[in-house]
């Protein structure tokens, strides 16, 4: 029962974060919000007895993916300045 409540709360936060990721004014915020969704997802995976997936999601979904997003917007910013 405990786990279920945790999952419910995490799920709610994930959805809020997902909307934040779509509607955040600043792109950087949006990207971070998307990263948070991934991170929360990895917690969900842990509760679902999937440590391997949780690790992957944390490393890739919220880690690398976010980095790449940031590289991309950095790059775009540079392009618009020129």
């Amino acid at each position: 029962m405990n786990m279920t409540w945790i999952a419910l709360i995490i799920g709610l936060i994930m959805l809020i974060m997902a909307f934040a990721a779509i509607y955040a004014k600043k792109l950087a915020v949006a990207i971070i919000a998307a990263g948070v969704v991934s991170l929360l997802a990895s917690i969900l995976y842990l509760t679902l007895a999937a440590p391997d997936v949780a690790m992957t999601e944390a490393a890739i979904g919220s880690g690398l993916s976010t980095i790449i997003f940031f590289y991309a917007i950095n790059k775009i910013r540079k392009q618009s300045h020129d």
């Binding site: 786990m3 279920t4 999952a7 419910l8 995490i10 799920g11 994930m14 959805l15 997902a18 909307f19 990721a21 779509i22 792109l27 949006a30 990207i31 998307a34 969704v37 991934s38 997802a41 969900l44 995976y45 509760t47 679902l48 007895a49 999937a50 440590p51 391997d52 997936v53 992957t56 999601e57 890739i60 979904g61 690398l64 993916s65 790449i68 997003f69 590289y71 991309a72 917007i73 790059k75 775009i76 392009q79 618009s80």
Partner: protein, 123 residues
């Protein structure tokens, strides 16, 4: 059947994430936000998949002292969806990275991130 179960909660969360992602893709004009929408869509899919593989009160599919070979079948969750999701996550990263690379190049060509500006091909 009771809906208030771990796997249902996560399943529905995943489903809503998928829809949110779709919403992001079709409602946002900004290319980067569309890609974010796609990555949400992907995450939602993965959550759904893991939920499907969950066995009530199961443990991780790793055999060790706590879970021995003989009784494992009754204790652990389904390893297959986990394996699939692992693959899918990496694929998702690949696709996202490629999309972003495209976005960067598109921006370079036209100086805009608005998808409505890329309508050179039609009819």
């Amino acid at each position: 059947m009771e809906i208030f179960q771990l796997e249902y909660i996560t399943l529905i969360t995943g489903g809503l994430l998928v829809l949110t992602g779709l919403w992001g893709i079709i409602s946002q004009k900004n290319l980067i936000r569309m890609v974010i929408g796609f990555s949400l869509f992907d995450t939602g899919l993965h959550v759904i998949m893991i939920s499907i593989g969950y066995i009530r009160n199961g443990t991780a599919p790793i055999l060790d002292k706590a879970v021995d070979k003989v009784n494992a079948a009754g204790q652990i969750v389904d390893p297959l969806p986990q394996a699939l999701v692992l693959t899918a996550i990496v694929i998702g990263l690949g696709v996202t990275a490629l999309m972003l690379a495209y976005v960067v190049r598109l921006h370079k060509e036209k100086g805009s991130l608005n998808i409505t500006n890329f309508k050179d091909l039609k009819w």
